[in-house]
């Protein structure tokens, strides 16, 4: 059910990126799409009633130096969290570049409207 809502958010972002005519709105649409995919990726690791996967000294068995079974059974999957962290960094770099291209284009053409920025055709 929640995955369907994620997919709906993805579709809203795709609609915004495809239909809108203002450059900044297109960029916002792409960011909504990336946000939806990050959300989907985090929800993949979810476990109902789980705890954060941060190890504390009380969850390590002192004699055998191994992690207690209780922790392993209730912790959420930490791998999607690492993936989403990387993905957020990538989309930050991408957003910075997109915004700077938008600003430079505005300085050259004087408008944000993509229907008027059409020197390249054919």
């Amino acid at each position: 059910m929640l995955y369907a809502l994620c997919f709906l958010l993805f579709m809203i972002g795709l609609y915004c990126a495809v239909v809108k005519k203002n450059m900044v709105k297109i960029v916002v649409g792409i960011m909504i799409m990336e946000y939806a995919v990050n959300l989907f990726l985090i929800m993949l690791g979810y476990r109902a009633g789980g705890t954060a996967p941060i190890l504390h000294a009380s969850q390590v068995d002192p004699q055998t130096a191994s992690i207690t079974a209780h922790f392993l059974n209730t912790a959420v999957d930490p791998l999607p969290q690492a993936l989403v962290l990387t993905s957020i960094v990538i989309s930050l770099g991408s957003l910075a570049l997109m915004i700077s291209i938008c600003i430079r284009t505005y300085a050259k053409y004087g408008t944000f409207d993509i229907t008027e920025i059409r020197r390249l055709r054919g």
Binding site: V37, P80, S87, S94, L97, I101
Partner: protein
């Protein structure tokens, strides 16, 4: 020789970050360092031909850690990427004097090369996505490098479409992780062989085809390429058209379909349809172009269609259980065409850059009669044009012949007819280039045009010699067995990937 595989990514990355630290007066040192880095990559790529290795990063064993895989297909593409990037870097030492901020250009260029090497060597699906993004974002910045009107518009268009493609690919990676529980390609391949494809994995595969198809500029998704490739500086056009659309698009798609997901009949037909559409649309749209680089860009779309057609034919033949030799031949044709096209399309873009730097224009109606004034450029362009059009002793002829033979053997006569028809179109468009740029009357404004000098000349001569030598790759049996056959075997025996990499 045992080259540690991360060196392919680490060498350009480290040099890219050393370059901005050098003082402003050290521009010559920066250029020298960057050229040394690309030449070093060529040496490393040549040394690692013929080996098959798995490198586990950080000592963590599969599937806990990320691994890098070097097999036949990877080494073939590494050779292509390093050769083209060495030539483009050599060309840009002279060509980029027209632009400001040259050290930043060199850093971005090396980052793009590092990203492409990472995509080719990666053995893990999310690692592939990260390096794909590094290469893509570097290329978005490089396309808009001149910051003029058209370059910014082209960069924005490219960036929006490329980002949407990357988001699709990330969504596919998330679905694959959710359905199989692992990110390692060998483990995913094993899981899919065990349980088969369910709805989630089929949706993930279609997302991958759309995403990587957009990166490879296949026809419904090609809208960014005719604007981006002409607007970029000439060495970057050579890199984009020559290696980026293939390493990020065609290679990743082939790796995922053959080795990870497994071949199936619908996927084969989809690839064949996309390939045919690209060939025909690119070919016909290119003939009417009057801008030199825009014509070359549409021609790129057409030639990538050939490669995807060959790969798709291989998928279909393997999936229907036909003779494995036919599938091998089709994939051999596709891969050889990929390597050929890297060399001669980048040579064509470099010659167009040389013409543009000498005359200041790209419009073929304003050019003419440059054959006497720029003899080396003219010779290079003729060799590359004859090769791409499929004239007999040049390598383009052999790759198209192999594709036609493979199509006829598999009894797809109509596909063979379309290949021949589009080859005729390609011949027409390159005769147009030769006629309007090099033959004919010299216009008044171009009387004092002279040949390019120095590093631009060296780069074009290097690629011309390579272009002429590529025929030997398929005609001399020992070279074919050493370089091309391992690549074909990796794809044909795609199901063995998990056994060879992880021993599962």
């Amino acid at each position: 020789m045992n080259v540690p595989l991360p060196m392919f990514v680490a060498v350009p990355l480290v040099v890219a970050f050393v370059l901005p630290v050098l003082p402003k007066a050290g521009k010559a040192v920066a250029t020298l360092l960057a050229n040394l880095a690309t030449v070093c990559l060529v040496v490393l790529a040549v040394l690692s031909v013929g080996e098959a290795r798995v490198y586990e990063m950080g000592g963590w064993s599969i599937p806990l850690g990320i691994n890098l895989v070097l097999d036949g297909l990877s080494s073939l593409l590494l050779l292509a990427v390093s050769a083209v990037s060495a030539a483009a870097m050599l060309f840009s030492t002279r060509y980029m004097e027209q632009y400001t901020a040259k050290p930043k250009f060199l850093s971005l260029f090396l980052l793009m090369v590092a990203g492409m090497n990472g995509v080719i060597l990666s053995g893990d699906v999310f690692n592939l996505y990260v390096f794909l993004e590094i290469a893509s974002i570097a290329s978005y910045a490089l396309v808009g490098f001149g910051c003029e009107h058209e370059e910014l518009e082209a960069a924005f268009k490219y960036m929006v479409l490329g980002s949407i493609a990357s988001v699709f690919i990330l969504f596919g990676v998330a679905l694959v992780y959710g359905n199989t529980g692992s990110l390692n390609m060998a483990y995913i391949s094993r899981a899919i062989q065990g349980t088969g494809m369910n709805a989630g994995l089929s949706f993930a595969l279609s997302l991958f085809i759309v995403g990587f198809g957009l990166k490879a500029a296949l026809v419904p998704f090609h809208a960014w390429l005719p604007d981006a490739h002409p607007s970029a500086p000439a060495p970057i056009s050579a890199m984009l058209s020559g290696v980026l659309i293939k390493a990020l698009g065609v290679y990743a798609l082939a790796r995922l379909i053959f080795n990870v997901f497994g071949v199936s009949i619908p996927v084969g037909w989809v690839l064949i349809a996309l390939g045919l559409l690209s060939m025909v649309a690119g070919g016909f749209l290119a003939i009417g172009q009057w801008d030199f680089k825009r014509l070359l860009a549409y021609s790129s779309i057409s030639q990538v269609g050939y490669v995807v057609l060959g790969v798709g034919l291989g998928v279909l033949l393997l999936a229907t259980g036909a003779n494995v030799a036919w599938a091998s031949l089709a994939i051999l044709g596709g891969l050889f065409h990929l390597v050929n096209h890297s060399v001669y399309k980048s040579l064509l873009f470099l010659t167009s850059g040389s013409v543009e730097m000498a005359t200041g224009t790209r419009q073929m109606k304003d050019l003419g009669g440059l054959a006497d004034r720029m003899p080396v450029t003219r010779a290079a362009c003729t060799v590359a044009s004859a090769s791409i059009a499929g004239v007999p002793p040049f390598p383009g002829f052999w790759s198209k012949l192999i594709l036609v033979i493979a199509a006829v053997q598999a009894r797809f006569y109509w596909i063979a007819a379309v290949i021949v028809l589009v080859s005729v179109c390609t011949l027409i468009m390159y005769l147009k280039v030769q006629r309007y740029v090099f033959l004919g009357e010299v216009p008044e404004s171009l009387r004092d045009v002279r040949e390019s000098r120095g590093s631009m000349l060296a780069a074009m001569v290097f690629l011309t010699v390579l272009c002429l030598a590529m025929s030997l790759l398929v005609l001399v049996p020992s070279l074919r067995v050493a370089v091309l056959e391992p690549a074909v075997n990796v794809l044909v025996n795609g199901a063995d990937y998990s056994i060879q990499v992880a021993g599962l």
